[in-house]
Amino acid sequence: MRDDAAPLALSEERVRTFAAAADRILPGQHGPGAAEAHVVGCLPTLLELPVFAVLRPHFESALDLLQSMARELHQQDFARCSASQRDALLLRLQGIPHPAARRALGALVKATLMGYLGDPVHGGNRAGLGWKSLGLWIERHGGAR
């Protein structure tokens, strides 16, 4: 059952931050990364999943923390920062010695992986690029690979 107090969609700002963070979580160094696999496309499904409801507050915290650190240190949105700037900000988030920060980064990594490896029908893992990077293919309605 959906919690009616939580908005159905994520704000555009948070979506952009997520895409930019996912791009560094799976940067595509040896094959398609999160950007090429369009991880962010999976968001509508993720937001509806009961298992994600538990992660969502931490996921949003991560996005908000990254954004506020980017604005403070680089005077611009996280999504506009360079790759190395975004890596440094993610490391900074990882370095915060507080369980809430760890949960936040954890939720962000989980959301990225769900968008990278979930069925393409949900909008992420475009053309199965995530699966293909691992040598896998999964038929939605049975079938071999």
């Binding site: 560094r24 595509g28 980064l105 992986l113 990278y116 490896l117 691992l134 309605h141 071999a144």
Partner: protein
């Protein structure tokens, strides 16, 4: 007035529905959950088995768990097997083992031990029904341990297996162990009007979208409905079984999907809601004659609850060190089992009982696996190039195997079901409260069995041995709550699963089982149901209930 009403449509209800409708009886099956179709059974890690699909959500329809030694009850999904047409068989892996002859006489073999009791019939009496179930559902495999005799071969040869199966055989042979082909309720060729398996990389916990796996829905209910004499009604919740002045069951009351109460009248009532829920239904069915619940004069309904105790060993094999073994072949079947450890040597546990070790290939499950890999052994979260490297290495450079065993859950006085004093289900009925105490045998036997699995992997040259969980209580098997026996003082049901106190009431799921066996119970539940179906049909033929 129906001839038979069957409450629950899983491994217990399916054989009854098929046999009785085939014999010309008018059968109504009432199922609490929805009816899914093949196209609903998607192989989707994110949505294919989430809360509410096969098992009710805790927020809507909870059970309550009280662990021995703790005060606080917790809401749980423990004890739900499958709430949909076909019950738990819709999402089973379909491991169709027979029990050993001594499972039917645990007290005879081992003497008094906690709540162990002999079954009111022997393996030999059930054996023809094991054959019946194997042929009606469609089981593939070959041979089996010599001390589990069979009068008829399996109807289908084994599914094709991964090249590693031969390596399992060879390693076990070197250790003096005898592997056999894991019997599966999976079509290795077209059977029963359903196709052969498509060798997908999913199976247990997901529905089967091709119909190749022999669920109660696919292999039994479909044919029952085709007789024209069996109706399956989904989304109806039975609240109470009705009893007449003569002390016979007369039918039941249910709430339909629109919230309306309806009454059904039948000559015979069969309950097959799985052990926790069947007990709950009897306990809810109070009347003047049965103030403690229907057929519960003994006070034993809900007692002797048993789940299973599970243990698992895993191992990783690297492609570079096993170049000859085609590790990355996508065939999902390892298909090997060992019954050598079904009984334990002295000194392992006060009860020398083990279980069947089942060797399998861990499903890729990319999302779940990636989530696990993202947490480094040190506890540090992986991201960036190191995460990508970890993912690619895991999936492209090696393969994980597992060895799993379901051991007997020891029936004991502190594990039982009762009606919860406070928590209600969404129909306002008291939920089931499960009291749970795990005997230390689960851990002692589980540790030993898990190490036996590791020993086989070591003999196969595994690169990494990974000890897994020991003696955990499983969520997918439930038994014992309406124990069958010859003495009405110590059992609820007789050898035909007829309630001692109510001659036209039968409980035909795992509830009847005095002991839970060292293997998945599904085939045994099906076989027993076919046996009871024959008995009910014979009594109708003799004019008993008309």
């Amino acid at each position: 007035m129906r001839d038979v009403v069957i409450i629950g449509s899983g491994a217990g209800g399916g054989p009854l529905a098929l046999e009785l409708s085939r014999r010309g009886l008018d059968v109504l099956v009432l199922e609490k959950g929805p009816r899914y179709e093949r196209q609903d059974y998607v192989h989707d890690e994110l949505t294919g088995r989430q809360p509410g699909v096969f098992v009710p959500k805790v927020s809507e329809d909870p059970h309550v768990l009280v662990r021995a030694g703790t005060a606080a009850p917790e809401l749980t999904t423990l004890g739900w097997i499958g709430s949909c047409v076909g019950g738990g068989t819709v999402r089973m892996g379909g491991y169709f083992y027979r029990f050993h002859p001594d499972d039917f006489r645990m007290r005879g073999r081992f003497g008094p031990f906690e709540g162990l009791e002999d079954w009111p019939y022997s393996y030999e009496e059930l054996e023809p029904y094991y054959c019946r179930a194997e042929w009606e559902v469609g089981v593939s495999g070959h041979g089996g341990p010599e001390d589990v005799p069979r009068s008829r071969p399996l109807p289908m040869p084994p599914v094709d297996c991964h090249p590693l199966a031969g390596a399992v055989d060879a390693a076990c042979q070197r250790l003096g162990l005898r592997t056999y082909s894991t019997p599966r309720a999976v079509n290795s060729r077209p059977y029963g009007g359903r196709p052969a398996c498509s060798y997908c990389r999913f199976c247990g916990e997901y529905g089967c979208p091709t119909g190749a796996r022999g669920s109660s829905q696919e292999s039994l209910l479909a044919r029952a409905e085709a007789t024209g004499r069996c109706e399956v009604r989904a989304r109806v919740m039975v609240k109470q079984i009705l009893v007449g002045l003569g002390g016979l069951a007369t039918g039941c009351v249910y709430v339909d999907a629109e919230g309306r109460e309806q009454e059904v009248h039948a000559r015979v009532v069969c309950v097959s809601c799985s052990a926790v829920e069947s007990a709950r239904l009897l306990l809810l069915s109070k009347s003047g004659r049965f103030p403690d619940g229907l057929a519960n004069g003994s006070g034993l309904v809900g007692r002797h609850l048993q789940f299973h105790s599970g243990s698992v060993a895993r191992a990783r094999f690297l492609v570079k060190d096993h170049p000859d073994k085609e590790l990355l072949n996508p065939n999902p079947y390892l298909g090997r089992s060992l019954m050598d450890d079904y009984f334990l040597p002295p000194g392992v546990s006060p009860l020398a009982k083990g279980g069947i070790l089942r060797f399998g290939i861990s499903a890729p499950e990319p999302v779940a696996t990636a989530l696990r890999l993202a947490t480094h052994a040190s506890g540090q979260l992986l991201w960036g190039a190191p995460l990508e490297k970890q993912l690619r290495e895991h999936f492209r450079e090696g393969l994980e195997l597992h060895a799993e065993v379901f051991q007997d859950f020891i029936p004991n006085a502190r594990t039982y079901v009762e009606l919860d004093p406070e928590v209600k289900d969404r129909w306002g009925l008291p939920s089931a409260r499960i009291h749970l105490h795990e005997h230390e045998h689960h851990r002692l036997a589980g540790k030993w069995l898990m190490e036996r699995g590791l020993a086989v992997f070591e003999a196969m040259g595994a690169n990494e041995l990974k000890p897994g969980g020991i003696g955990y209580t499983t969520r997918v098997h439930a038994h014992g709550t309406c124990r069958a026996g010859n003495d009405p003082r110590t059992s609820v049901l007789n050898a035909w699963c007829q309630a001692h106190e109510v001659p036209n009431l039968f409980v035909v799921d795992g509830s009847f089982m005095p002991t839970s066996g060292g293997a998945a119970p599904t085939l045994t539940i099906l076989a027993n149901s076919f046996r009871t179906a024959d008995h009910i049909a014979a009594r109708f033929r003799a004019g008993e209930w008309h």
